[in-house]
Amino acid sequence: MKVVADRERCEGHGLCADAAPEIYDLDEDAIVVLRYSEEIPAELERKAEGGARVCPVAALRAL
């Protein structure tokens, strides 16, 4: 599984980073940053999906 973030659409609510800090971080402007640019470790896939789903502007996709 990979995660893709649309940083243009991100509004910095930070719910992804609350739900799955292992996968999502926020930069100085409170815009999402991914901790994995490649494959996510299998044991973190569910968390990655959960973090993607709580984004209120649907800026995150787990592929």
Partner: protein, 397 residues
């Protein structure tokens, strides 16, 4: 009830509270079957952009889709509303027949409140409402919004941006209740600077239909002033979707399902039934009832309730979510803490880079928690919340 006894959990609902509930079940180790019953014909999407990016046609329908789970044991059934509940027999009725469950998550959400059911009233809650409003606005020169809460004011902002002549009417000053007079006043000023007319009618407001027709052509205030619009939108709050629970015996308050701080509808008789999101109202330990119909709340409540479904009292109880935001008239506003701060803020800071504002109100007699508001400011809400958590610990210690 413990997770080992649960084999089949039914989640009634198809929005973010329902999706978060399903996700939390898995993250907490539940490996049985999850059936999600959604009355909508689309797979779950976010409603947050409906008044903003989607209405302005900056975002597409596809942009709003929430990630669909890769989970093979999650059965999402669309166009399949729960129509009745028998909590004793542990059965949910659907158009396709009865469904038995070991655990039930009630997450049927809310619908838009209507002021004149006899008229063809426009509201904005679902994607289809957004499509219709968009179509009407494309052929209109003016918009009247009845209701100056977040939704009504966000639509007003979008419509003004599209070049329409916009009026908002409400019985109280728009946005005061949630943002407090200082910040709300700043937003109202920005709205007026963009040509939006704001009308406060303390005497009350009623919709006016076409003579002999069902089209809404305007609104009349209690003191006899008429305001018209090519398009009239009602944005007057929401009503919990609980009619399917009418004969279930569950306790309702103003139409919302009453739950304890663990999200349970009745811990003694039905410990395997929880309710989350906009359909639920939480009765706190001191008897006060709290219902917060926000995205953040739906997410937090769904997590809490599912953990109590799986782990009982050991799961930590719910604390009302204290973060919400709005974006309108060029102002990006985020609030953490007690809503509706009044008086002068104790701290007011301007960020030198962005020019944004950070305002903080310390707790007062009528406001147990501090409040922080950012306006076009890059401070992360998560950081603000952590700061406040530390303050609370200090007070408690």
């Amino acid at each position: 009830m413990r997770s080992s006894e649960l084999r089949h959990v039914v989640v009634a609902g198809g929005s973010v509270a329902a999706m978060t509930a399903a996700q939390t079940l898995r993250m907490e180790g539940f490996d049985g079957i999850i059936t999600m019953l959604s009355e909508e014909e689309r797979s779950p999407y976010t409603r947050v952009p409906l008044s903003k990016e989607r209405l302005a046609d900056i975002a597409t329908d596809d942009d709003l889709q929430l990630a669909t789970p890769s989970d093979v044991d999650l059965h999402l059934q669309l166009c399949m509303p729960a129509t009745a509940l028998d909590p004793v027999a542990q059965l949910v009725r659907t158009p396709a027949g009865d469904l038995s469950y070991d655990g039930l998550v009630i997450a049927t959400g809310a619908r838009a409140r209507r002021l004149a059911p006899e008229l063809d009233e426009l509201v904005l809650r679902q994607l289809e409402d957004c499509h219709l409003l968009q179509e009407r606005l494309s052929a209109a020169r003016s918009l009247l919004v009845v209701g100056g809460g977040f939704l009504g004011m966000e639509v007003a902002s979008t419509a003004a941006g599209l070049g329409l002549d916009v009026t908002v009417v409400d019985v109280v000053p728009p946005l005061d209740r949630l943002l407090g007079p200082l910040v709300a006043g700043r937003v109202r000023k920005a709205a007026q600077a963009q040509g939006v007319r704001l009308v406060v009618a303390e005497s009350g407001i009623g919709l006016v239909g076409d003579r002999g027709g069902k089209r809404v052509r305007g609104a009349m205030t209690g003191d006899g002033r008429f305001f018209g619009g090519d398009v009239v939108l009602t944005a007057a709050g929401d009503v919990p979707n609980s009619s399917w629970l009418g004969r279930s015996g569950l306790s309702l308050s103003n139409g919302a399902v009453v739950v304890d701080p663990h999200g349970r509808v009745d811990a003694a008789s039905f410990p395997n039934v929880v309710a989350v999101g906009d359909v639920a109202v939480t009765r706190l330990g001191d008897g006060r009832e709290t219902r917060t119909a926000t995205w953040t709340n739906a997410v937090e409540q769904a997590g809490t309730a599912v953990r109590s479904l799986l782990h009982g009292e050991e799961a930590s109880p719910y604390r009302p979510a204290d973060y919400f935001w709005t974006h309108q008239f060029g102002l990006d506003i985020k609030l953490v803490g007690s809503p509706g701060p009044s008086g002068q803020p104790t701290t007011s800071r301007i960020d030198p880079v962005s020019g944004g504002t950070l305002l903080v109100w310390q707790p007062a007699a009528n406001r147990p928690a501090p409040t922080a508001v950012t306006i076009n400011h890059p401070m992360r809400p998560a950081k603000l919340r952590r700061m406040f958590a530390a303050t609370r610990t200090q007070i408690a210690g």
